[in-house]
């Protein structure tokens, strides 16, 4: 796996995701500067990390989505390359229109850092083959604007095409407004692009990969990517 983690001014979880990648694939990720216009040669996974790019001023991810590197990221995605946006990265992907919809403020209007439960909706994607559909994962979130919103038609299309990969659920795996901490439409926590190669999600799987620190339910996501890329 040859990963490139894009560093925008104000990114702050680039180290967390880079170390998760290293831990699981054994390979160090390249850190790529937002002002560059090209990805390192042979990059096969682009990660847009969590943080507050440009302070999250204006709208989360809005300014970063217009950074020079994003043209290269778009081209990579169009070629079918894998692009993973976590938290702020998800917001950037939506602003760049690589994924539909927007992330609005959490329904409670507060930043929330806590562990939540995610249901894996399908296992036949590059990001989830190490999970089974229906698995319930314990993964932390840390965001103030993660409330996924899109127009009815978009939601219908996402649901119809099976592009919702993760949903906020109860520990038993049931949909329950009480466990949808940010009020996201249909409890959506993560969605895929049409070709299933672009994933945006609000939770932080990269913070749950180290048994010394806590649960390790996030490993499967990186293991899935690694399996796909190593097989390629």
């Amino acid at each position: 796996m040859k990963a490139a983690v894009v560093l925008f001014p104000g990114s702050n979880r680039e180290g967390d995701v880079a170390s998760a990648i290293k831990r699981i694939s054994g390979k160090a990720a390249n850190i790529v500067w937002h002002a560059d216009s090209e990805l390192p040669a042979n990059t096969d996974l682009v990660v847009l990390p969590g943080g507050f790019s440009y302070g999250d001023y204006l709208r989360c991810g809005a300014i970063a989505a217009r950074a020079p590197i994003m043209n290269a990221v778009r081209a990579h995605a169009e070629r079918g390359g894998l692009v993973l946006g976590i938290c702020n990265g998800f917001q950037i992907l939506c602003e760049a229109q690589l994924l539909p919809g927007v992330l609005q403020r959490n329904a409670q209007l507060r930043f929330m850092c806590r562990e939540v439960y995610l249901r894996v909706e399908r296992s036949d994607t590059p990001y989830s083959r190490r999970y089974n559909a229906g698995d319930v994962l314990k993964i932390p979130v840390a965001h103030g604007e993660g409330n996924y919103t899109a127009d009815d038609e978009t939601i219908k299309r996402l649901e119809g095409d099976g592009r919702v990969l993760f949903r906020y659920v109860s520990p038993e795996g049931k949909l329950d407004p009480k466990w949808n901490h940010n009020g996201a439409t249909n409890a959506i926590a993560g969605i895929l692009s049409e070709k299933l190669n672009v994933l945006g999600l609000m939770p932080h799987p990269e913070n749950h990969v180290d048994p010394m620190i806590g649960p390790t339910d996030g490993r499967g996501l990186f293991e899935s990517i690694n399996t796909v890329l190593e097989a390629a």
């Binding site: 204006l58 809005a62 927007v102 609005q104 959490n106 329904a107 209007l109 899109a150 127009d151």
Partner: protein
């Protein structure tokens, strides 16, 4: 030259912040409030130049950055 771009949520898009403010105003006893929607306003100084060009530049600014046209509308005004 002074200009203003106002960005508001499209009709039908849920506005959690507006809803919360609506509730708060009601509980503060402010009378007659039926609904509140929150938007943004950008006050922009432009280097002197022609009005038509300025409007075009502002529209470009709104389309490219200031508004997320998936959920927002905008309005451009050149003030002086």
């Amino acid at each position: 030259m002074k200009a203003r771009v106002t960005v508001t949520l499209k009709n039908g898009v849920l506005d959690p912040q507006g809803k919360a403010i609506e509730g708060a105003l009601k509980s503060l006893g402010i009378e007659g409030v039926e609904s509140v929607r929150q938007g943004k306003v950008f006050e922009i100084e432009l280097s002197a130049g022609d009005r038509v060009k300025a409007e075009a530049a502002l529209k470009a600014a709104a389309d490219k950055l200031l508004a997320n046209t998936v959920v927002e509308n905008y309005r451009v005004e050149v003030l002086s």
